[in-house]
């Protein structure tokens, strides 16, 4: 059985990518199972999704702790303490990362010992779709890496995306982008290794008084400050030459990140702006531009 894991940010398309892969495998006659995991889901927050592909009926459920391959849709996740996309990856595992950087560079920066494959699929999606929506592209890459056929991929994209994309032309572009990515990756063979299983004995749980065992937190300030600026893959940038100070962006920012400077122009708090691009969308004179950025902090 192949166990595959996708890591992305809410809204990037990791869940749909896992579904595209699941459906493509199903079309090829395999037993398949896919499953996303998100807490209180928000655009930009790290999420993961899982696909199992097997010749035998699948007697597993729930998260995949020891994947054969992981697909990372945003390089910044490699450094995110809440995502740790490489955890549990098997010895001969394969890591795909969406980045403009080379595999060698990445292996060096993040000290990755297994095989790394990189491709800047955000750039491809911007070019081919006009939007950074990565589901079809990541689905194409995953299908190639796990060795599924192009026809199953095409059928799967049609099935999965026609339910959520009503515009025919956009659907077609997604298909093309996914095939482009499929062919951009050389076929590889994933060696299925045994997981490195750490002994984890069953214990007897001791009694502890309610002082300890109630869900009460005594310490103050124990929650690490999480700056949602880290979620951003696109950054809003203002052009004051065009801005009419209409204040639309200020009221529409869902996180109240936008303030007004002394001259009456809006600016955002980049530590917390999560890059949702609502302001870009809402500005009536298009004075705000979304600029791609890749950073990890």
């Amino acid at each position: 059985m192949l166990r595959l894991r996708f890591h992305g940010r809410g809204g990037q398309g990791a869940k749909i990518a896992s579904r595209i892969l699941g459906t493509a495998a199903f079309f090829e006659g395999y037993y398949a199972q896919d499953f996303p995991l998100y807490g209180a889901e928000r655009r930009g927050a790290p999420i993961s999704a899982f696909t199992r592909i097997s010749k035998e009926p699948i007697l597993e459920r729930g998260i995949i702790a020891e994947p054969d391959s992981v697909f990372v849709l945003d390089e910044t996740l490699l450094d995110d303490p809440h995502a740790h996309p490489l955890s549990g990856l098997k010895e001969h595992g394969i890591v795909f990362v969406n980045t403009a950087r080379s595999a060698v560079e990445l292996k060096d920066t993040y000290k990755i010992s297994v095989q790394v494959i990189t491709l800047d699929i955000t750039k491809i999606s911007l070019k081919m779709l006009g939007k950074p929506i990565l589901s079809a592209l990541a689905g194409g890459i995953a299908a190639r890496i796990v060795n599924l056929g192009e026809d199953s991929l095409k059928k799967s994209i049609e099935k999965e995306l026609s339910e959520i994309i009503t515009e025919k032309e956009f659907l077609l572009k997604n298909k093309e982008a996914s095939q482009y990515c499929f062919h951009a990756i050389k076929p590889i063979e994933i060696k299925i290794a045994k997981g490195i299983h750490k002994a984890n004995p069953v214990i007897t749980v001791p009694f502890e008084t309610a002082l300890i065992s109630s869900p009460t937190i005594y310490t103050t300030g124990n929650t690490p400050l999480r700056k949602t600026g880290n979620w951003r893959v696109f950054k809003p940038v203002w052009n004051y030459d065009i801005c009419t100070k209409c204040m639309v962006c200020v009221v529409r920012c869902p996180d109240a990140c936008i303030s007004v400077n002394e001259d009456g122009y809006p600016y955002t708090d980049y530590d917390n702006c999560k890059g949702c691009m609502i302001c870009v969308e809402e500005c009536p004179v298009k004075a705000i531009e979304g600029m791609r950025e890749a950073h990890a902090w």
Partner: protein, 426 residues
Amino acid sequence: MIKEMLTGNAAAAWGVRLAEVDYVPAYPITPQTEIIEMLARWISNGDVDTKFVTLDSEHSMITAAGAASATGVRVFTATSSQGLLYGFEMLYTVAGWRVPLVMVNVSRALSSPITLEPDHNDILAARDAGFLQIHCETCQEVLDSVLIAYRLAEDERVLLPVLINMDGFHLSFTREPVEVPDREQVVRFLPPYRPKHAFFKASQPMAQGTAVIGGSGYSYFKYQMHFASMGALDVYREVSEEFGRLFGRSYNTTEGYMIDDAEYILIMTNSFSTLGKAAVKRAREKGVKAGLLRLRLLRPFPELGIKEAIRKAKAVAIVDQNISVGKGGILYSEISSVMYNEKERPLLLSFIGGLGGKTISSEEFEFIFDRMIEAVDTGVGKVPYLLYTEMEWKEMEKLKNVAGKGNKNYSNCRGETHNITEHGKE
């Protein structure tokens, strides 16, 4: 018939669509909401002809479902966890009206502490209300159970509402291949609902759900509900046989896995049974004659099926994914009561695991089999074992540290100093 990848929630929605339900009262709660979203989309697209109403709470929602069912239409609704408990009063009430509505519960552990992942304290809290209960392991089973549930509930020998249970996340959001039957095939199995006992019609006045004062009336009605529920076992067998003939998939009240010659049997319910089956396979590879019995019908309780399946085993481990605080596993108690008067009976061991969606690891399953084998040697089993692993404990210790309950002194809100470890040590 088409086969496609569906989540448990989507499978439930498909079941409702194929059953041509007339009325859906709704109130959202994670992880059930997707069922209602799908139905709402189909209704607004005109794919299905169903009245849809959003209510202000689960209490109102179950009331509306019961009331609509009492007018003689086919009704569906769904909830989960806190929502089920919020509507609790009305579960007993509508069951007493003897109306055959179907409700899906997507299991999610109960507060507190609040969480999102499944265990079965929510659905088992409803076990005495008069609803029949079907518990599902796969997404396919969810779809099929909706169809079976209507046939069962609407049978004149039964006329009780049905709750169908699926685990949150592990089924609700998990996609697997599901066969969606054709509408023509479904109509042959599930004809339109034509009630004779509870309906509204012009010039035919009746009073439903009337009051009784005095225990004899009350007892009469309750005993009749009990008879109807117990009788539903036979009706279920008929219905599921017919379902099997038409659709090629059959579901008994219980499901045995590698059980025929099994000496050591796990008893489980719902989606974690899949993990139990994998554990049974692994145990068999090691030479242990293991098997698994999955309970599908929880109300009525399939006593006979259980007795027959486990009578000859050496030891049986009941894995309860619930905890009756102050007693232990709910199903352990129920199964013990079934076996106590039997001459031939296995040792019964009780394990609690998978609370709040905690996984049951392969080590924990091995632990269960080891305890069964050990119990057969010694003739006694401890009750209950609370499954927990060393890694989980270490993780918990870390969290306790963060919460100020670690290896150090802390002061409480009154400024008094305590040493946590002293309290914490056994």
